[in-house]
């Protein structure tokens, strides 16, 4: 007896004779019914998917693990925080998630004072799914970083930032005097994608820039865009951004790496 058949009283739940159409779409078609209702097994599947998405929204960055892993890649890391005190405030005040708290500003200011001009600042931000960073940031960086090193593109110290929105990368990049900021951030979880990672790239980051100044690569996760494809595309965009001295709507993905 399969899990979808258990607990079913014969004759109560009717299945749909078009279940073979499921081959054409991941949508929840041909669910069957009891009366007008969705059968319980499907209701529970949906509820579990929603539970995963909700848990992802409230997940926390595994900062200790991330810092240890990044240090093994010989990268200095700074732990930062936005002005949003907690998830509750973060969800209702997107403006606070876009700005660093005062301790973080002081830390980055002291660093920038002692360093020379850097090129790329990489930021790991929890966004709406810390799970996405916990699961997918390291595998992506393990492919990307050697590409940057081979191309002799220098890196600023890495940043891990909590309760953060995309635009906080502009403030971080600006304080580190980086020429380019790359923000890895957890995307809004979908029912089938609680750990989808997004990457945003901004040339000459400054607070106040808006979405049209950025380039985005979305849906990075094992079931979505692969680490290899994402890293290749990101490396292409970084090089083009340096070459053209811009990012955003004028920086096109002409390499057509991704359909």
């Amino acid at each position: 007896m399969s899990s979808s058949e258990k607990h079913i009283i014969p004759g109560t739940v009717s299945s749909d004779p078009w279940a073979s159409l499921k081959a054409f779409t991941p949508a929840r078609i041909a669910l069957g019914r009891t009366g007008t209702a969705i059968p319980l097994q499907e209701v529970l599947q949906f509820r579990m998917a929603h539970a995963h998405a909700r848990d992802a929204v409230y997940s926390l960055l595994n900062t200790d693990t991330l810092i240890a892993q990044l240090q093994s890649l010989q990268l200095p890391v700074n732990l930062l925080h936005s002005q949003a005190a907690d998830r509750h405030e973060y969800l209702q005040r997107p403006d606070k998630g876009r700005k660093l708290d005062i301790d973080s500003i002081n830390l980055l200011t002291s660093l920038a004072g002692s360093s020379t001009q850097q090129s790329v600042s990489i930021v790991l931000a929890d966004g709406l799914s810390a799970t996405a960073i916990n699961n997918n940031a390291l595998p992506l960086l393990e492919i990307l970083l050697p590409m940057l090193q081979q191309a002799a593109i220098p890196l600023a110290p890495l940043s891990i930032v909590q309760q953060a929105r995309v635009a906080i990368g502009d403030e971080i990049g600006s304080l580190l005097k980086a020429e380019l900021v790359v923000v890895l951030i957890g995307e809004r979880p979908g029912l089938s994608s609680p750990d989808s990672l997004g990457v945003y790239l901004t040339y000459r980051p400054q607070p106040g820039l808006t979405d049209e100044a950025r380039n985005c690569i979305s849906n990075i996760r094992p079931e979505g865009l692969s680490y290899q494809a994402a890293a290749t595309k990101l490396f292409y965009l970084i090089r083009e951004s340096f070459r053209l001295r811009l990012s955003g709507v004028l920086l096109k993905d002409n390499e057509k790496l991704i359909k």
């Binding site: 054409f24 779409t25 991941p26 949508a27 078609i29 019914r33 007008t36 209702a37 969705i38 929603h50």
Partner: protein, 457 residues
């Protein structure tokens, strides 16, 4: 002129109409984000008391967004129907509320009043109304529209079949359409949100639905929800039934959507000239949602519910077949939880209906909102009672492309069943003829040899 209310020893002063409107609004996160909410529970009720005493005439004399700088304000003022307004012209907001709930305000009376009301008046009265008031009055409004079937009749609830797919794959979309039709959905429209705004894909998807519709002789209409300018571009070579556009309640909001009244006018005329409707000529489909003006930084100090009501003035101009408030899509920074989403949906439905619009509601939420299917069940049932024209139907309530949860084909069956609501009459006849539903409105078991199934395997 400032408005004042004295509570005990304290006099609350509200500088102008938009301030009293904002402070009278039930609490929601978007107004807090904009810094517009009342500072205390007492101040909120004091603002509602002040609002109740404001004469409706004041709304014609005091624009909350300047006439000179906003074409929607000009539209509202310039097209106001003084004759329709006459029966209530001496009322205050509070008197309007009491009158709307009285037996004197029956369906024909409310229908003839609609052109006499402005969005600001209906937003104002909604703010002093409880949820049951919003439901009672909306239920009395009847807004009927037609293209290939009749929508909005009392006792009927239609469904937009929303067969979205992550990559716009035609076979995947067709599979969801078949699923929806076999569950009795699709009378409001078969409407696809495309994954991209590519004109070529839009044409392909329109052809897909149109061929299906003609093959099975389905009395419904289709729409691919592309930008209005895309629709204009492809019209000569594609079967465009309805023209879609997202709209907001300020000129600046619409600029952020890349539209204005003259583009909408051009699209409306172009769609009418195609003459594709068989029993009516309502050819526009608009979507709205509280928070869009704040999101575009274009609210001008006006609360999000009043901005939303002003969007209905834009919609009303173009006699739409469908208007849909996508109430929980925008996220918790505008509507935080199930309570706020439910209240906002009832307000939007009420305001739209009172202004004479064929309102549907996308009963929905995102995964970062404090809401779940139980909240949607509550809202769906309330809207069914309120006489909502249509809801969304999505396989299993899970939109795999837009990544949010709405209502399912099953949900539509549920609300029709518990409230005795029927599909659009022409569509219902088609369902009976196809052996999908019986005359009593119960869904039938179809066999695997049904033509809708066999021709898509």
């Amino acid at each position: 002129m400032p408005y004042k209310t004295t509570i005990g020893n304290h006099t609350y002063r509200f500088d102008d109409l938009k301030t009293v409107l904002a402070k009278a609004a039930p609490y929601r996160s978007g107004d807090a984000l904009a810094g517009l909410t009342a500072g205390s529970y007492e101040e909120r009720v004091a603002a509602q008391m002040a609002l109740a005493d404001i004469a409706l005439q004041d709304f014609l004399q005091q624009a909350i967004i300047p006439y000179e700088s906003d074409e929607i304000t000009r539209l509202i003022i310039d097209t106001h129907d003084a004759q329709a307004f006459a029966p209530v012209s001496h009322f205050t907001v509070g008197q309007l509320r009491d009158w709307l709930l009285s037996d004197a305000a029956d369906t024909p009376t409310l229908q003839s009043l609609a052109p006499g009301l402005t969005p600001e008046m209906v937003a104002a009265v909604s703010k002093v109304m409880r949820n049951q008031d919003l439901i009672s009055v909306a239920r009395k409004c009847e807004v009927i529209t037609r293209f290939r079937n009749t929508l909005g009749l009392k006792g009927h609830l239609a469904v937009r079949l929303q067969p979205n797919h992550t990559t716009d794959d035609p076979k995947g979309i067709a599979a969801s359409i078949v699923d929806g039709l076999l569950y009795g959905s699709g009378d409001a429209v078969i409407g696809i949100n495309p994954a991209t705004d590519s004109p070529a894909i839009t044409v392909q998807l329109l052809q897909l639905i149109d061929e299906l519709r003609q093959q099975y002789d389905i009395p419904t209409q289709s729409c691919v929800l592309c930008h209005v300018t895309t629709a204009l571009t492809i019209m000569p070579r594609a079967p465009v039934d309805l023209v879609f556009q997202s709209i907001g309640g300020t000129e600046q909001t619409n600029s952020s959507f890349g539209v204005n009244l003259s583009i909408l006018q051009e699209a409306h005329e172009a769609a009418l000239s195609l003459q594709r409707g068989t029993i009516g000529s309502n050819v526009m489909y608009f979507e709205t949602g509280q928070g869009s003006s704040l999101s575009a930084n274009a609210h001008g100090g006006v609360d999000q519910q009043t901005c939303e009501a002003r969007a209905y003035a834009v919609a009303r101009r173009f006699n739409p077949l469908l208007v849909n408030t996508v109430v929980g899509f925008i996220g918790p920074e505008y509507l935080y939880d199930g309570k706020q989403i439910i209240r906002a949906a009832l307000e939007d439905h009420f305001c739209g209906k009172l202004l004479g619009l064929p309102m549907g509601v996308d009963v929905c939420y995102t995964n970062h909102a404090e809401a779940d299917q139980d909240d949607m069940d509550n809202l769906l049932t309330l809207l069914g009672v309120a006489g909502c024209n249509y809801i969304m139907g999505i396989p299993g309530a899970d939109d795999i492309m837009l990544n949010y949860q709405s209502t399912s084909f099953h949900d539509a069956l549920y609300v029709r069943k518990v409230l005795g609501l029927r599909p659009a009459p022409e569509f219902e006849q088609w369902l009976v003829k196809q052996g999908i539903m019986n005359e009593a409105g119960n869904l039938l078991k179809v066999s695997g040899s049904h033509q809708l199934i066999t021709s898509h395997l």
